[in-house]
């Protein structure tokens, strides 16, 4: 299995070359936090930092204009207004450099929903076809990382076009897809020596060691559904939740959205914007009825969607990438792992259950 290598300087040159005819998003310091920002030559890319926001933004932006409309007064009948509607499809080419394997998994989850046999969302598909992912593997793991427990890992290349493993002096690169290999050709990559490839392997092994033992979530779907009507359980799990939306907006695999019309004068647009299933209004019906009236119901739905419903519909694929952003960014440190594991452990003897939950 051959790999390539690029030094840090040449990496910068590669980014410069890519940015000539494409939008390049890289992790950068943005007023003190690291987020994906457009790269221009001269700006410093922080490829060793995981951005707060998820790389899904490259193909699923927070705000998307679906269509524009314009009202015109009908000259033949001033009482009447005519409306013109025009769809707005994205066309820009882009590369997202510096996401992590967990972030790339977001694309896998979204692909199966937004681009499949029965459903093809042209906005997502257009962006997806025009956007490439250069993912950086992880050299260390945090206490909130659990990618290995949900089917991913520190060097998981699924969903990426190129995978870079940081080594001394640069990166060992793998062209995962055909287009990824074409991308590599635009940079000054050399053949990677065996020593370098071994080093890359060692880096990943060390990270895997830091991750510790993976937790088995395979019976989570069944166990979560068993808890469905147990409102005592969900009230307890959701007690500390404050129903904001930080978890959903930073999540690489969340894809729920809202559609709203915004008009100014005689023209306007229809927007698709990220929405959070943790808010009260999400399922509020016109009649006033709400199928998910409390935060307990909504937490149940979120956990259910990620660890039960989605896997059931998509061959066991868990709609969570284990990046830990929700845990880190939750203002009250609600831990998705603890909730799912509490459901998994539910029938165990109470003392045993507590021991397991601490693991």
């Amino acid at each position: 299995m051959s790999r390539q290598f690029i030094s840090h300087d040449k990496m910068t040159a590669w980014l410069d070359a890519l940015s000539r005819d494409r939008a390049v998003l890289v992790p950068m310091d943005d007023c003190g936090t690291v987020t994906f920002r457009p790269y221009v030559p001269g700006r410093k890319a922080l490829l060793d930092k995981m951005p707060v926001r998820a790389p899904k933004e490259g193909v699923f932006p927070q705000t998307e204009t679906l269509l524009r409309f314009k009202y015109d007064k009908d000259p033949e009948n001033l009482d009447r207004v005519k409306v013109q509607v025009r769809e707005v499809l994205p066309t820009q080419k882009a590369v997202v450099v510096g996401g992590r394997p967990c972030g790339a998994r977001g694309q896998l989850i979204l692909d199966r929903v937004y681009n499949c046999d029965t459903m093809r969302d042209p906005y997502y598909v257009s962006r997806r076809e025009n956007t490439l992912y250069v993912t950086v593997a992880c050299t260390s793991a945090e206490s909130t990382c659990f990618c290995h427990s949900v089917g991913s890992g520190p060097d998981d290349s699924e969903g990426s076009d190129v995978l870079l493993v940081p080594v001394e002096g640069g990166y060992v690169a793998e062209g995962v897809t055909e287009r990824g290999r074409e991308l590599l050709a635009e940079g000054d990559f050399e053949s990677a020596s065996q020593a370098r490839m071994d080093e890359a392997g060692a880096v990943i092994s060390r990270t895997r060691g830091q991750l510790g033992e993976a937790h088995d979530y395979s019976d989570a779907p069944r166990k979560l559904l068993e808890r469905f009507d147990d409102m005592d359980f969900w009230n307890e799990q959701a007690a500390i939740c404050i129903s904001c939306g930080a978890c959903t907006y930073l999540c690489p695999t969340c894809y729920c959205f809202n559609m709203t019309d915004e008009q100014s004068g005689l023209q306007g647009k229809r927007l698709r914007t990220w929405d959070t299933c943790m808010s009260f209004e999400f399922t509020l019906e016109g009649s006033g009825h709400n199928p998910r009236p409390t935060k307990a119901h909504r937490l149940r739905n979120r956990m259910g969607h990620k660890f039960a419903y989605y896997p059931e519909l998509h061959e066991g694929l868990i709609a969570c990438c284990g990046c830990g952003r929700c845990i880190k960014s939750c203002p009250v440190s609600l831990d998705i792992r603890a909730v799912v594991q509490a459901a998994q452990n539910h029938n165990a003897v109470p003392e045993e259950a507590e021991e397991k939950a601490d693991a």
Binding site: N77, K82, V83, M119, H305
Partner: protein, 280 residues
């Protein structure tokens, strides 16, 4: 449908009919004639009506696909979009994204007797199926319609009902919750709650399918009545209403467990609903 499921097609309102104080029926035709020609749908499917600048709302296409002069939607005024829809006049433009969702199992119902139990605006989704069956009359057995509302003024499609009551190939029974002025009680114009009248009518479950729609509380008690009459779970069909936005199984609002009401529904058999998590 376009290859952009989020893009509505423009349609013009041909006619507006006032059904009740808060329900209006809109008959529309696509501006694009070739789209109108090629458009097809099955009874039970829904559409999203757009008022550009305000938003979208979901309604069943309650005309029958056997009569394609126009598409018909009935709107109850409850919120922002529906209020603006109610302001539409003939000649106005509206956006339509249709057809969405699944449909009534019309083929499986062939050769069977059908009992329709409709409450209030719930008559709308049942209307499309009823007219479809009447236009394919030979394919179906005995058809019974039980249609109830709070009061006589709340009954929609009065013009249709008159026509149906005049036919001899279906039985129609209307009911209102309480006695009302001008409502002359008879075998076909009763006073009583829908589930109770249903029990009185006592339809036989053998080779029969019951299709019901209406306010949640009515459906709940109608289901109980149907079970009492010994209808099997697979013999009871209903259509659900949920908050829908995208209508194509993406935005995550309308799911009940693994089922998306906009894709796997809105038509469901009771046997399917029973297996779903309790999140109606």
């Amino acid at each position: 449908m376009h290859n952009n499921p989020s893009l509505p097609a423009l349609a013009t309102v041909l006619e507006v009919v006032e059904e009740t104080p808060n329900i209006k029926t809109f008959r529309v035709r696509f501006n694009d004639e070739s789209l109108m020609e090629s458009f097809s749908f099955m009874p039970g499917q829904v559409g999203q009506l757009s008022i550009f600048g305000v938003g979208e709302s979901t309604f069943v296409i309650n005309s029958s696909p056997t009569r394609m002069d126009y598409l018909q939607f009935s709107v109850m005024k409850v919120g922002e979009v529906t209020s603006r829809l109610h302001q539409l006049k003939a000649g106005d433009t509206v956006g339509v994204r249709a057809p969405l969702g699944n449909w009534f199992p019309v083929d499986e119902m062939k050769g069977k007797d059908v009992v329709f139990v409709a409450g209030g605006i719930g008559m709308a989704p049942l209307r499309t199926l009823l007219v479809y069956m009447l236009d394919n009359r030979a394919d179906y057995g005995k058809i019974t319609l039980l249609y109830g509302a709070r009061s006589p003024v709340d009954l929609s499609f009065k013009y249709d009902v008159e026509e149906w009551m005049a036919r001899d190939d279906l039985d129609v029974v209307l009911t209102v919750d309480a006695p009302a002025e001008g409502w002359e009680e008879s075998a076909t114009r009763r006073v009583g709650l829908i589930p109770n009248v249903l029990l009185e009518l006592n339809p036989a479950p053998e080779n029969c399918v019951a299709v019901t729609c209406g306010p949640p509380i009515m459906i709940k008690f109608t289901l109980q009545a149907l079970k009492k009459l010994e209808f099997g779970d697979e013999q009871i069909i209903t259509t659900l209403e949920k908050r829908m936005k995208c209508g194509v199984g993406l935005c995550g609002r309308c799911n009940i467990g693994t089922k998306y009401v906009c894709v796997d529904g809105p038509v469901f058999r009771y046997s399917d609903l029973k297996d779903l998590p309790n999140e109606l």
